[in-house]
């Protein structure tokens, strides 16, 4: 696959947090690719490092985090020509190089729309801010027109009136549309959605997801969708990346993951999804135990203690990734007859 097809290539991303003078590894050797115009879903339990991974890529981690990676390559496609950006080599997390990318190239939709909007500014101004930042010389009324257009596209009713309202006058779903408008206004290629619907009502969730899906199909955006909702994954994703305790344990196409589920953790995750029409007496399965504290992890497979197929050698050393089919990678010793990959 060449740079035209891959929009984001992450190799061996490691993020370490320093807390009480102790180093805690939150993200370990994470590698994945996002294909242009496709959706990559990143799934896993709370605290598995999904959000930290994305924040590390966008460089939103705080000062107590150390981000290291062999490669975080963003390939911008402009007028048929590819420009490569190596995000791992950008020193200042909020310096000019990173800032130039945020908005027009990569943007992010956050989990909680209630707190993602600044309470003291009108929503229209908050959306226009990014636009005015990246288009020097743009007049305020031009920006306003573009914001209105975006509001209409996102299905915000009464845009002329709503544009001058403050966040507290919006419902949760409408706020999330505004957050999406902020992310979309500079027409980015890659949108990272960090659990965009977790904080919303179920009916609103569907609306927001439909909206994202539509944007992707119509405008060919690439999306990274962070979620722990397997239903959403099935509906939205082209490719899936399953994470557990800071590691990618399985990566592959939607079909690979759902039909040829390989890692015991992915299987457990899929079995714990409630399905309508569950047979009488059939109990929803749960994954035994709880996610361990990242500070107490010993060597070997992170899932070993909760895995039903655990062997002695699972606990010996860090498990490598095995490619069991083109593009389908699993981090489990059950597949050690397949070739090892990074």
């Amino acid at each position: 696959m060449d740079n035209k097809e891959i929009i984001l290539n992450v190799e061996k991303l490691n993020t370490t947090f320093i807390s009480d003078r102790k180093e805690i590894k939150i993200v370990k050797d994470v590698s994945f690719q996002v294909r242009r115009g496709k959706t990559l879903a990143v799934v896993g339990e709370s605290g598995c490092g999904k959000s930290v991974t994305m924040n590390s890529i966008m460089r939103f981690t705080g000062k107590n985090a150390i981000v290291k990676a062999e490669n975080i390559q963003y390939n911008a496609l402009r007028d048929g020509k590819v420009t490569e950006y190596h995000l791992e080599s950008i020193k200042e997390p909020n310096g000019p190089e990173m800032r130039a990318l945020r908005g027009p190239d990569m943007s992010m939709v956050f989990q909680d729309p209630m707190s993602s909007l600044n309470p003291v500014y009108k929503v229209g101004d908050q959306v226009a801010e990014g636009l005015l930042q990246h288009n020097k010389g743009m007049k305020k009324d031009e920006a306003r027109k573009l914001v209105l257009e975006m509001f209409r596209k996102l299905g915000i009713p009464d845009p002329e009136e709503r544009i001058d309202c403050y966040p507290h006058q919006f419902s949760g779903g409408m706020k999330q549309r505004v957050v999406i408008a902020i992310a979309m206004i500079c027409n980015p290629e890659l949108i990272i959605c960090d659990e965009p619907t977790t904080a919303l009502d179920v009916t609103i969730q569907a609306q927001i997801m439909d909206l994202l899906k539509e944007l992707q199909l119509k405008e060919g955006k690439s999306i990274i969708l962070i979620t722990h909702n397997m239903g959403l994954v099935a509906e939205m994703a082209d490719e899936v990346c399953v994470m557990y305790m800071g590691r990618v344990v399985e990566f592959g196409s939607l079909e690979d993951l759902f039909d040829r589920t390989s890692h015991p953790y992915t299987r457990a995750l899929l079995r714990s999804v409630p399905v309508l029409g569950l047979a009488d007496g059939q109990k929803l399965e749960t994954i035994p135990g709880a996610t361990p504290n990242p500070a107490d992890l010993k060597g070997g497979c992170e899932f070993a203690d909760r895995c039903s197929e655990c062997m002695d050698r699972c606990r010996e050393k860090t498990i490598p990734m095995f490619e069991i089919a083109p593009g389908h990678r699993v981090r489990c010793l059950k597949f050690d007859s397949y070739p090892e990959v990074d």
Binding site: M58, F60, K63, N94, P96, M98, R99, A100, L101, R102, G103, P104, S107, M108, F110, Q111, D112, S115, S116, L117, N118, P119, V120, Q126, E129, G130, Q133, H134, Y166, H168, Q169, V179, I182, A183, C186
Partner: protein
């Protein structure tokens, strides 16, 4: 918004009435007889009838409530009455109140700028040098009594170095009014500012840290705007409100502090006037000065409400 302001203004009136009555009544309880200050002791014992007539003509035999309303009526006509030594309270206040406003106002201004400034820098550059020094100073500023700070400053800057005068507000031989004001105000304002900064800095730092951890700061960064805009436009603007509230909570302490500091620097303001009046039992003066302070406090808290409303759309739009 206008309705909000008017409502708040109207609510101040009953407050002031109640306070003035309580103070008036309270001071009557002390049993100090104003006649004793007006008439010499010999007259008092020898000329009982005349004294009684004087009493009657001054209305001192009327029921308390009548006296109160008469006094209140006079105040509303701009007549603040006379102190026991016979001078007009209004003329004393007219000179001294501006001095106190100068003292408290400059202290408030500088401590706000310095305190919030250092607090914000400490939050943005957490664990940096300014943060560290600021924290140590805040701890010390809260532990050393303010009047002691004043004494130390006098010792260093007026006695040892001789840069600033140790007392008073005007010098008889001053050539320029501005220089005179500057030299006399510098040390007392510095003293009050140190105390205020200690509290404000700590609070501004914590508030700003809270704000910088909130999600909308991440949203702001995701737009690719420069860091100074993230800090000032999105961070500071949201930290302003709680900081303003604490600022107003500190105004009583500032006024209380200025009462003490005026004594330290023999600064002829309202505080010194009140202190001396209490020591000498000059109750008409105590009454007026207390009410001025109470009114100032009410106006301050009113202004905070208005500022708060201006800063917060939720309050401004009346929701």
């Amino acid at each position: 918004m206008l309705k909000f302001i008017i409502k708040k203004l109207l609510m101040m009136i009953p407050m002031l009435l109640i306070i003035s009555f309580i103070v008036y009544y309270g001071l009557q309880l002390t049993g100090i007889d104003p006649i004793n200050f007006m008439v010499s002791p010999e007259m008092l014992s020898s000329n009982k009838e005349n004294v009684e007539a004087l009493r009657e003509s001054l209305g001192l035999n009327d029921p308390l409530i009548v006296q109160y309303f008469r006094w209140l009526g006079n105040i509303l006509h701009g007549d603040l009455g006379y102190s026991f030594d016979g001078s007009s309270i209004a003329s004393v206040i007219a000179v001294r109140l501006p001095y106190t406003f100068e003292l408290a106002g400059y202290s408030l201004l500088f401590s706000t700028i310095i305190g919030i400034g250092i607090g914000i820098i400490s939050a943005v550059r957490q664990n940096g040098i300014i943060d560290y020094v600021g924290r140590v100073l805040a701890v010390l500023g809260q532990a050393v009594p303010q009047f002691l700070v004043g004494i130390i400053l006098i010792q260093v800057f007026s006695i040892k170095l001789g840069w600033f005068p140790a007392s008073n507000r005007v010098s008889p031989d001053a050539t320029s009014a501005f220089a005179d004001a500057f030299f006399h105000l510098f040390l007392p304002v510095l003293t009050l500012t140190i105390g205020m900064v200690a509290v404000l800095m700590r609070y501004a730092r914590n508030t700003m840290l809270d704000v910088l951890n909130s999600d909308y700061i991440k949203t702001a960064r995701s737009k690719g705007i420069p860091e100074w805009k993230v800090y000032l436009k999105h961070g500071f603007r949201n930290a302003m409100k709680p900081v303003l509230v604490i600022l107003v909570f500190r105004i009583p302490a500032l006024i209380g502090g200025s009462v003490v500091i005026e004594t330290v620097f023999s600064y002829p303001g309202i505080g010194l006037t009140m202190t001396n009046a209490i020591v000498s039992g000059d109750y008409p003066v105590v009454l007026v000065t207390t009410l001025i302070i109470a009114a100032t406090m009410l106006i301050c808290s009113f202004m905070v409400d208005v500022f708060n409303a201006l800063l917060d759309p939720r309050v401004r739009l009346g929701e």
